[in-house]
């Protein structure tokens, strides 16, 4: 059987590789998207005090440590059954909103966006942040840097550090903010709203107004009809920090809504021996393999999923964009994976609006940001939405609050089965009769890149060249063809 190896995949946290096998007719028989890494967090946090989980699990991911920090902090609150004072919750969510704005910005402009803004037919040398700058204007580079600076400034003000925040403890925070800091945060938030609106307008002008791009978005190659998951507040609106987990079916109807502590009744993780990562699926639907449909337990968790799983956005400008999104794409739910990029920008706007809402909340500068826990610690679950998907932290402790067991289901992990399926479908659509063309190189990348796999840097970079080499072996293992771009 012929084999095509794409190795390594870049801009995935850690490393990944894809193996594609062709049958006798030269069509794709199967693909394997392998994750070659395991560090062992669920084991080595055992023996550590529960309050350190918010610090240690930061180091699961240095791009979204804020997500792990919050999930772990909420789990620790649950372990102690302690209620965080309103100011504490609001400060955490304010930090989180600013982080979201930064993270989504990085992905759209430097990473996923160029695929879209420049289009798949654009020369590879232009499909990167520089190409984006030339297309939408030189100031944009400065604005992106500014947005990242502002976001990390807020994270540092509330979280103590730019990377790996340290201020969330069981029951609240170690510090609050002054009125001076609050003013600065509010000002940056207003700027962020403008920046988000600018980004959506740019997306509209460049992508949505272009029929070729629109066709690409709504086309079948990147479409999968699966379940969708996201956190929602009491009104079923998208919330990144708190709420219940809601799952809707491929038909858009609510399938289940559960409290964080009940996750294990709904989610299971399937194992394959050819990879270090597991495949979460909906337990009550069952694992049917890497297939679409309402009878398959595969679900997606991404900005698109969150929009699909909700009844709307909790802030007015974002809600307008949400309505426009579904009107343009023909109603809920939207199944086209490339639409994730658009959904991501709507979330960027919501994050900025929420940022200002919280920064102008009368309680935000109150000195009452921590409740001392008094109950005996036992067990707790904390769930937040990481930018890449629903993030679940579950800890058991002894009576001293030392961790005895841990279970973590991390953002991108939710999407491992969908990524595997998207890659297979892209490969199947493009490789027929043994003929591999250059389009494969780009379109396979676009398939997994839309998910923003764990690390923000899902795409091209400074030199703008995407060196990629695909080697085709015949059944005897001899090289029959090598397709290269930008590889000497």
């Amino acid at each position: 059987m012929q084999r095509i190896t794409i190795d390594p995949i870049t801009r995935l946290e850690g490393h990944g590789k894809i193996e594609i096998f062709l049958n006798e007719e030269g069509n794709v028989a199967n693909t394997y998207f392998q994750i070659p890494e395991l560090r062992g967090f669920e084991r080595f946090v055992v023996g550590r005090p529960i309050e350190e989980m918010a610090l240690i699990t930061n180091r699961i991911c240095g791009v979204c440590p804020e997500a792990h920090h919050m999930a772990a902090a909420k789990a620790a609150d649950a372990v102690y059954k302690v209620e965080v004072p309103p100011t504490g919750k609001k400060l955490r969510e304010l930090l989180y909103s600013a982080f979201y704005a930064t993270d989504h910005t990085t992905h759209f402009y430097a990473l996923g966006g160029p695929d879209f803004i420049m289009g798949p037919d654009a020369p590879v040398a232009e499909r990167n942040i520089l190409g984006v700058i030339h297309k939408v204007g030189l100031e944009i580079g400065g604005k992106v840097i500014q947005m990242r600076k502002y976001g990390h400034t807020v994270v540092e003000m509330i979280g103590g550090r730019k990377v790996h925040p340290c201020t969330s403890i069981p029951g609240g925070l170690t510090k609050g903010i002054t009125e001076e800091q609050r003013k600065e945060i509010e000002e940056m938030g207003h700027w962020a709203i403008e920046f988000a609106q600018f980004s959506l307008k740019a997306f509209n002008d460049i992508v949505l107004s272009n029929k070729t791009y629109l066709d690409l978005i709504v086309g079948d190659v990147y479409t999968h009809k699966t379940y969708y998951m996201g956190l929602v507040d009491a009104n079923n609106k998208v919330n990144f920090y708190d709420g219940k987990v809601r799952v809707v079916g491929p038909n858009g109807k609510e399938f289940v809504k559960y409290e964080p502590k009940d996750y294990v009744n709904h989610i299971a993780e399937h194992v394959e021996p050819w990879t270090y990562l597991k495949f979460p699926y909906l337990k009550n639907v069952g694992w049917k393999g890497f297939v679409d449909g309402k009878d398959s337990g595969v679900y997606m968790a991404t900005p698109l999923s969150r929009l699909n799983a909700s009844d709307g956005m909790a802030t007015p400008r974002a809600q307008e964009e949400y309505d426009k999104f579904y009107k343009t794409l023909g109603g809920k739910p939207v199944h086209q994976r490339l639409a994730i990029h658009w959904a991501r920008l709507i979330e960027l706007l919501y994050a900025a609006e929420r940022w200002v809402e919280l920064a102008t909340d009368p309680e935000i500068t109150s000195p009452n940001f921590h409740t001392i826990p008094t109950a005996t610690p036992t067990e707790g679950v904390g769930i937040v939405e990481a930018p890449r998907g629903t993030l679940t932290h579950h800890y058991w402790t002894d009576e001293r609050g030392v961790v005895t067991k841990a279970n973590l289901i991390v953002g991108t992990t939710n999407n491992y089965a969908p990524i595997q399926m998207s890659t297979t479908k892209a490969a199947q659509s493009l490789i027929k009769g043994g003929k591999v063309n250059e389009g494969l190189l780009n379109m396979v990348e676009m398939a997994f890149r839309a998910y923003d796999p764990c690390f923000g840097c899902a795409t091209h970079s400074l030199p703008g060249q995407m060196p990629l080499e695909i080697t085709i072996h015949n059944a005897d293992g001899e090289v029959v063809d090598v397709l290269k771009q930008f590889v000497d």
Binding site: N30, G40, E52, G62, C166, A268, V271, W274, V402, N407
Partner: protein, 330 residues
């Protein structure tokens, strides 16, 4: 004249070092202006084959972050060492193992077993990942995990160490400026083996909290008290590692009300970080009676984790007995 070549690579790490580099904001353009970025998997798509094709020593500066968790990490470390003039162990993972080094308290089998038997894992055949697996269509491979996670200098020769989890952006900026100046001949790089991008003292030196003589009658935990923001945390019984941790971070965490957890690694002159902390903590316990000492120490619920949180893989003991025994086959 072609620009000197720059590479940055992540082994078993989290990406925080990359983000910290991006957080030098406009300064990244100085990097772009002064270097040709030839390999940086997070940001651009050069492959391993491209690195293999480069001449030995042709990469002027390589910032290598991440620990050696598996054979692929080691392979790339050795490859980049051959191809690079200056190899910097960038960040806590490369310098001392960092958080993933906590895996060395266990055996690799235990790390894998735990992940594949969690509460939500559906694994009726009790499968484990196989480094070589015969799929129906062909053989599939994934890297083999090392019995113990290693630091970069336990695998290759390292020129400079840049500590921190992650190194602070202002420190990265300072180092970038120094290297550019050195390349232009207007500054000299420190002697090989030096620690760069950090101070020579301890975090206590940079911390603005008031310090008196410490007499600890009890160790507390950060959540059980509303600490005095002006007073030394250790004095208030909160276990703070600032005493043995290298300066350079501006005592960020104590400024924010949280104890120093030691992410900047050992201070200058410290042979074993945990040993230094044991000495320091023991010295300030206010008791001379064995039973009382034990009772005070009961307040430290995880001393090995407290003292080796970031440093286990780079310490004298490197890991637990079981990890060593799995490693040496006894």
């Amino acid at each position: 004249m072609s620009k000197p070549k720059f590479a940055m690579y992540w082994a078993a790490s989290c990406g925080g070092c990359e983000i910290s580099v991006l957080n030098i904001h406009e300064k990244i353009l100085d990097v772009d202006a002064n270097f040709e970025v030839v390999f940086w998997p997070v940001a651009m798509d050069a492959k391993y084959k491209d690195v293999e094709a480069m001449e030995d020593g042709s990469i002027t500066l390589c910032l290598f972050n991440g620990g050696m968790r598996n054979d692929e990490n080691e392979h790339i470390a050795k490859l980049l060492r051959r191809k690079s003039k200056i190899m910097v162990a960038f960040g806590s993972c490369a310098c001392e193992g960092c958080i993933p080094g906590l895996g060395n308290f266990s055996t690799v089998d235990q790390l894998i077993d735990t992940a594949f038997t969690t509460l939500s894992t559906d694994n009726p055949k009790n499968l484990r990942p196989q480094t070589s697996y015969d799929a129906p269509e062909g053989a599939l491979h994934i890297p083999t995990m090392n019995p113990m996670l290693k630091t970069l200098d336990q695998v290759v020769d390292v020129d400079y160490y840049m500590p921190g989890c992650p190194p602070e952006s202002h420190q990265i900026t300072a180092v970038v400026e120094l290297v550019i100046a050195a390349l232009q001949g207007s500054a000299q790089l420190p002697p090989k083996g030096a620690t760069i991008g950090a101070g020579n003292s301890t975090v206590c030196d940079e911390c603005t909290r008031k310090r008196n003589e410490k007499l600890i009658k009890a160790f507390g935990r950060i959540q059980f008290t509303h600490t005095d923001p002006e007073l030394c945390l250790l004095e208030q019984g909160i276990p703070c590692n600032g005493l043995a941790t290298r300066s350079g971070c501006n005592a960020r965490c104590p400024s924010a009300g949280a104890q120093c957890i030691g992410c900047y690694g050992p201070a200058e002159g410290v042979v074993d970080y945990g040993a230094r902390l044991i000495s320091a903590f023991a010295s300030v316990i206010d008791s001379e009676k064995p039973e009382e000492i034990d009772q005070i120490l009961d307040g430290l619920v995880d001393p090995a984790g407290q003292f080796y949180r970031f440093n286990l893989a780079g310490s004298l003991l490197r890991g637990s007995k079981s990890a060593h025994h799995q490693s040496n086959g006894s």
